[in-house]
Amino acid sequence: MKPYHDIGGEPGGEVDQSPYEYSLWELRVDALLRLLSMKAKVMTVDELRRGIETFGENRYNEERYYGKWIFSIASIMVEKGIVSQEELDSRVNDVRDRMEKSL
């Protein structure tokens, strides 16, 4: 079976040309990949793609561009033992609490 990211040649509809402006968090995800690949040298762009191509079709279809990136980067960081799943989950909860309080 064809993997879910291999869509070239499939039928499709009109191309949506609406402009989209990235938020700061999205620009930071871009920066994060550059820092991890070119400065810290702990992951590669190929690993980023492997993460995106294996985290499942639902996530692939639902996340925007940098959403796909951050879920992949997080899984690669856990896989390499640079962060543990537990500390990441715990920090995600902290950050969510802080963001919701500041709304």
């Binding site: 990211h5 291999d6 869509i7 070239g8 040649g9 499939e10 039928p11 499709g12 509809g13 009109e14 191309v15 949506d16 040309q17 402009p19 989209y20 990235y22 938020s23 700061l24 968090w25 999205e26 620009l27 930071r28 995800v29 871009d30 920066a31 994060l32 550059r34 820092l35 991890l36 400065k39 810290a40 702990v42 762009v45 190929d46 793609r49 995106i52 279809n61 639902e62 996340e63 925007r64 561009y65 940098y66 959403g67 951050i70 879920f71 980067i73 997080a74 960081m77 640079i82 962060v83 500390e87 990441l88 920090r91 995600v92 902290d94 950050v95 969510r96 963001m99 919701e100 709304l103």
Partner: protein, 205 residues
């Protein structure tokens, strides 16, 4: 109907609540800074550096190639070196510049993901990453070009499918009526659409 709702908003976000991806991005940024992989300042500098990478860089390269045949030859034979010559360091990826001629029009896509000369031109437009563009450009490029207002019945259309290791940029044809124009004036005729190849360079007004 729930079905209709899903067609228009594939990401379910409760009103006013941050997206899951945004929360994860902030959590990871904090943890990796605490672990010393980079500093908050490194990240700010990186965001700033990316904001300076724009299609204007590509436009400057094209304008130089239009006015300097020797530079054009170097650009077509070694894209990264020709970009560096203009002061643009495009990182480790390969860059292949493909030239439009009176007989051939080139257009770029990345069917498998969204590969693009991002370290030269900055992030690609959203439509370039869209599924419909990635799906259709390889089998009906003329129909896709038509949506961008580009109709070229007398030209062969060549589609280039990018990879992470080989990224493309189009060298558009220099429009007629621009004889004697400066590089700055010429660069003003080029935008991201013509560098990807969904349009030609703008004609002089």
């Amino acid at each position: 109907m729930p079905h209709d709702h899903h067609d228009h908003s594939p990401i379910e976000i409760d009103e006013g609540r941050p997206e899951e991806a945004q929360v994860l991005a902030e959590a990871l940024r904090e943890l990796l800074i605490e672990k010393g992989l980079f500093t908050a300042e490194d990240m700010n500098n990186q965001v700033l550096a990316m904001s300076k990478r724009t299609p204007g860089n590509g436009a400057a390269i094209v304008a130089r190639a239009w006015t300097d045949v020797a530079y054009k030859a170097r650009l077509l034979s070694d894209g990264p070196a020709a970009a560096r010559e203009m002061g643009f360091d495009i990182g480790p990826a390969q860059l292949l510049v493909v030239e439009n001629t009176p007989d051939v029009h080139n257009v770029i896509v990345c069917t498998l993901c969204s590969c693009y000369p991002v370290l030269l031109l900055g992030p690609s437009p959203e439509w370039y990453k869209s599924k419909n563009y990635r799906k259709r450009t390889v089998y009906e490029p003329r129909e896709v070009l038509k949506e961008f207002g580009t109709v070229l019945p007398h030209k062969e259309v060549r589609v280039h499918d990018s990879t992470a290791d080989m990224r493309y940029m189009v060298l558009p044809e220099r429009p007629e009526g621009t004889e004697g124009w400066s590089e700055d004036q010429l660069a003003g005729l080029i935008n991201v659409d013509s560098l990807i190849g969904v349009t030609e360079a703008n004609s002089p007004a």
